[in-house]
């Protein structure tokens, strides 16, 4: 099980109060996590990735194990601690604005 922590706005959209526990088939990667997240919560489709390009939105970041995974390939395997559920996978709304 992979634990995913969503930003406040996406928690509201997904109608969840806490971390999301996801079963991710195959090799867990950022792409596989987001695929599984969108499959379970269709309201999140298009909010993390652009629907046309499937690219991560510019003001969204992926963090785990105190690392910024946002610029890694979406197909890179996630850290073992995330795969084992020890550490969460964070979807972050980037700091922006005043």
């Amino acid at each position: 099980m992979i634990r995913v922590v969503l930003p406040a706005h996406l928690k509201v959209l997904a109608n969840v109060a806490r971390d999301v526990q996801l079963e991710v088939p195959g090799i867990p990667t950022s792409r596989a996590v987001i695929d599984a997240l969108e499959a379970r919560f269709p309201a999140l489709r298009g909010t993390i990735r652009d629907p046309a390009t499937q690219e991560r939105r510019p003001f969204v970041r992926f963090f785990a194990c105190e690392l910024d995974l946002s610029h890694e390939s979406l197909d890179s395997p996630l850290p073992d601690a995330v795969i084992s559920g020890q550490e969460p996978f964070f979807v972050i709304g980037a700091m922006a604005g005043g």
Binding site: L10, L13, R45, G46, I48, P51, A52, R57, F59
Partner: protein, 371 residues
């Protein structure tokens, strides 16, 4: 007794303001979608309980929300706005080609007869249609792929399709307005389009009376006179008596003919409202006095309406979709400001009162008149 439901989109959420036909005591609901920009909400004329809302942020993109119970509860529907084929390019601010990129939905226009059919005007400018209550969206790509499309340029607010009017006499006839391309019309339900900008003159483009490229801010018509269109352009208030084939200026004695909103009285097709704004570089009312101007003669002769509106130190703006009228016997007029006020006049503009004063900046105002 009749009721009115005012749908307010703001920079930080949606609000619903409700009153009985006296329009004196108001109940304020919201914020809905707190923290999100709500560019527009609009109810279905065919089913007032069906309301569509455009919800977006720079972080998480575009969503469309739908309510089937008059705004009490909402559910996200489809948000896949994919341009047909390879979208090509339009002109960027510096004149270079720029790929068409979807940014947001500016305006939702539900069908007069079918609650499940709704049009969406988007940035970068294009028109989409859903026939299943917003679940799926298809582009009416004849507009974007018009021969002039590659030369369209964004206005300061982006290249947005912000005004949609489906003719009340012929649902195949659609008018849209794009900043900064101008007005386009279709007589075949959106399959093919042609520019309707004859008579417009804009000093901000190389050829002032060019076929397209005009920064039209808003258009409006009265249902009983589907051939008569009114326009607030970047500068100039304009009128067409032949369904947009040609336009003539009706700015008359306005203190400034710059502005964003224009609307028509619900029962008097020659009574028109605008809110003059000082200039393109000073987006606030002339002299710090917030005044709606009304013409009872279809333009040219305008009277200021200020009773109940701030007449000193007022430096708010009224954005293009932020004025509406209700359909009660004594027509109510409503508008919202970037300062967060929503004003109502229950007597066609003679007297004004703030329903709310401290909302986030208002982006849009629509009214539902409920029997």
């Amino acid at each position: 007794m009749s009721e009115v439901r005012v749908l307010v989109g703001t920079r930080k959420g949606a609000f619903i303001l409700q009153a009985d036909g006296k329009r004196d005591k108001w109940e304020v609901q919201g914020p809905f979608f707190g923290g999100w920009e709500i560019f527009h909400l609009k109810g279905s004329p065919a089913d007032p309980n069906r309301i569509y809302a455009s919800q977006s942020t720079s972080w998480f993109g575009q969503l469309i929300q739908r309510s089937d119970d008059g705004g009490r509860t909402w559910n996200p529907v489809g948000n896949q706005f994919l341009y047909d084929g390879v979208p090509g390019t339009h002109q960027w601010y510096d004149g270079t080609p720029h790929p068409w990129e979807f940014a947001r939905v500016w305006h939702l226009e539900p069908s007069r007869t079918d609650p499940d059919t709704v049009l969406a005007g988007v940035e970068d400018a294009a028109l989409f249609r859903s026939t299943d209550g917003g679940l799926n969206w298809s582009e009416l790509s004849g507009l974007r792929t018009h021969a002039t499309g590659s030369s369209w340029q964004p206005g300061a607010g982006g290249m947005c399709l912000h005004s949609i009017i489906v003719s009340p006499s012929d649902p195949r006839r659609i008018f849209v307005a794009i900043s900064a391309a101008g007005v386009f019309g279709s007589d075949d339900s959106g399959m093919t389009w042609r520019p309707l900008n004859n008579g417009l003159s804009s000093g901000e483009i190389p050829d002032p009376d060019a076929f397209e490229g005009h920064c039209v801010h808003h258009i409006a018509l009265h249902p009983s006179r589907p051939e008569v269109l009114f326009m607030q352009k970047h500068w100039d208030v304009m009128r067409s008596d032949n369904a947009g084939e040609s336009w003539f200026e009706v700015s008359g004695n306005l203190p400034s003919d710059f502005g964003f909103v224009v609307d028509v009285h619900a029962h008097e097709p020659e009574t028109v409202y605008v809110v003059p704004i000082t200039s393109d570089s000073e987006h606030f009312p002339p002299e710090g006095k917030l005044r709606v101007y009304r013409s009872r003669s279809g333009g040219n002769e305008w009277e200021p309406l200020s009773n109940g509106l701030p007449q000193r130190d007022c430096y708010v703006n009224v954005l293009r979709d932020a004025m509406a009228v209700d359909a009660l016997d004594e027509c109510g007029v409503y508008f919202g400001t970037t300062g967060g006020q929503v004003y109502v006049s229950p007597d066609a503009g003679d007297h004004w009162k703030a329903i709310v004063r401290d909302l986030p900046a208002v982006l849009s105002v629509e009214v539902q008149t409920i029997a």
